[in-house]
Symmetry: C2
Subunit: 476 residues, 2 copies
Amino acid sequence: MSRETADLTEAKDRVTSEVEEDLEDLALGEDYALNPDYVAIVADALDRGDAERLSELLGALRPADVADLMGFLSAGDREEVLAHLDPEALAEVLSELDPEIREDILEHVPSPILAKALGEMDSDDAVDVVEDLEDDKRAQVLAAMPEMERAAIETSLAYEEETAGRLMQREVVWAPQFWTVGQTIDHFRREGDDLPELFFDIYVVDPSHKPVGAVPVSHLLRTRRDTPIAQIMEPVSEIPVEMDQEEVAYIFDKYHLISAPVVEPGGRLVGQITVDDIVGVIQEESEEDILALAGVSDAGRDASVAETVRTRLPWLLINTVTAAMAASVIGAFQGEITKLVTLAMLMPIVASLGGNAGTQTLAVAVRGLANRELSAANAVRTVLRELVVGLANGLTLGALMGGVSYLLFHDPRLSLTFGLALIVNLFVAALAGAMVPLALEKFGRDPAVSSSVFVTFVTDFTGFFAFLGLAAVILL
Amino acid sequence: MSRETADLTEAKDRVTSEVEEDLEDLALGEDYALNPDYVAIVADALDRGDAERLSELLGALRPADVADLMGFLSAGDREEVLAHLDPEALAEVLSELDPEIREDILEHVPSPILAKALGEMDSDDAVDVVEDLEDDKRAQVLAAMPEMERAAIETSLAYEEETAGRLMQREVVWAPQFWTVGQTIDHFRREGDDLPELFFDIYVVDPSHKPVGAVPVSHLLRTRRDTPIAQIMEPVSEIPVEMDQEEVAYIFDKYHLISAPVVEPGGRLVGQITVDDIVGVIQEESEEDILALAGVSDAGRDASVAETVRTRLPWLLINTVTAAMAASVIGAFQGEITKLVTLAMLMPIVASLGGNAGTQTLAVAVRGLANRELSAANAVRTVLRELVVGLANGLTLGALMGGVSYLLFHDPRLSLTFGLALIVNLFVAALAGAMVPLALEKFGRDPAVSSSVFVTFVTDFTGFFAFLGLAAVILL
């Protein structure tokens, strides 16, 4: 290239990059969320069928932002946008898309184009997409892929969902343990394009391809070329392919790992998991916990109303049964209520405070189990502590509400009944809130799922029974 | 070293490493959690005052496991363990410790030793520890540190808590934009020990020290030495020092970042945030959300009973007030209840189902706001969807419970009242569950905090009022 052409190209690059810079500024708000104005501009370009403007607008967005954009577009517009992406860009956008939207979109992407896009992805992302395909589409797409890539995806699909095998990418960088730093670097420079796009650790393997250590890439850079890599390698935490992803996330968090080698049952290195996948897992698992505690099975943003009802109604139906059982206690004390209708007014307060205290203990226990602060080793101590806290809260609230009710109704025996019932219910709430998740965990169930409904049932039942039962004894 | 000595040393290394291997196997369970048996062995060595055995046992643990171990030991034993750690190990263990335990321990570590340990840490971890020190201890420790390190910590402490400035480490690797790959690698190899222990991206800076791009370390390895780094650099997401850590976590998750440069208001590079710190932030934020939804302010595992009560009682007191307000509705309908005591039995069911449905919607909305699936751009659509879902759930449960109650009580007007009240309350539950967190967010409050108590109040109040009010009109 002559000096002049070079200058021209540079000048053009500069102009283009300035325009792009402006669009980028416009695209994202200060909080890095997609700007509603930008969505409107894209929608406008789509309406006018202005392909050039659309390419420009999409070009200013990173894949994750294009994926966000899709969430705001109609089905027709989404297809239009997809048609503007080359296989590489399509690959990246597909990896970022909300699963609900992706499922919808995948039906409309021609199989050969999809096969090409999958070839551009790391194997873990490709598997993620293939999972979402309908059976016959999946067969078509896999058939259109080169033998090697297809085999890699099929092997990964054979692992169970939410395990290390599914999470890992098969692209991994390794070196034999007798190499030096210099040999390793020279080898990588020769391999160049065959290496994964990004990697953080080089796994040192023995002759049977078992990982014996890892060398962070930055250590390669700062060490003399004649140093054997075995000398600078660090111990690795091997992840078995069948390990649950929640477990994997725990290990990454605990040891601050950036990547970890995944091994087959025999110990052979078959892939790696990187921390950016783990960030996704942690988000997912904690969202699952929040929703499970509230009695919701997840059904993404784009789920239909019918699907959403299906994720919520089952728990409400179970709650109907438990609420009816708790209410049947009231039925047994109808005589008492007819004699003193104030009981009907105070009994929901006892049940409600118990429910809240139980939920507090429950949330602490579920959180403790998730981050392993709570385990078999300290379960007894934790339950005892919760019981003491429950008693302390009960005594405080019992004394307070007993006092307030005396000021309102001037009936010392009613106040005594009210106060005692609160103490009993808050104690029972602590017991149930701590024991229910521990019991679920013990029996291999997810402590976040279904524990709320148990605990609320216990506190409702106890609230009504303790209050009305004590009333029958003390008052009437 | 002669051939023979080398062989001997190797043999000895092998034996040592085999013993260590065994201890390591024993130390951790299959799930990488600390083995209770191992804790017992350590406790035994402590009891016997067997220093050598203790060193061996501690040597087999990684810092995160030593930190876990501390959670199972008495205060006296903890001090004993600390005395066995050199400054580097102490530094790593301190970074990993549960904040409650750390606070307790820090009082007992002599200031000069602590100063030395802080010098071994990345600046973000050091700041974390210094924050936990009592005022006079902090002054002592800072005074014992070298000028440069002290200044770095003091600057970081000047940033607000939970911002990028607090989260970042000041140790950062950068290169001027006119360097080539070869120059950069040679420079790093010369610097050697002055570089951070671990790094993933090299920030390319302009003459005013503003970051203009980043080069992943792995790209340096695979690119020809004569390539200018400006040619292989990638765009960076700059993080302003004052950005909230939740925001930072969002950006890392969205763009799958491994590290990002932190800049001062003028744009100068002052530090970096790495993804392992972000994993901690995400865990923390999601735990905060779970606990906040349940009405608990966090107070770690080692908080005293009094502290724990203090984190729970305030919400229970607020709940007392709202429960009393809801119950006062019942007081207004005492006449109706006296006439038909069955009302007292059914009304908690209406309130309870409403509360559960409200909590479901609330959890979905809080989750959506946290991961930005729910924003101003789709708030109206989301609320409308929730209302339709609420209506659908209400119609289903209303019809079902109306039917069941007719079979039990053979009173068509009672069943009509019950069914209608359920429809009303589930609709209102959806409205409150969606609107309350959106309103809190709109006014700059955390939508997870205090929203449950609002929503439950609304569904309790509506449950009682709709049911008893309709009863007064339809039944009596």
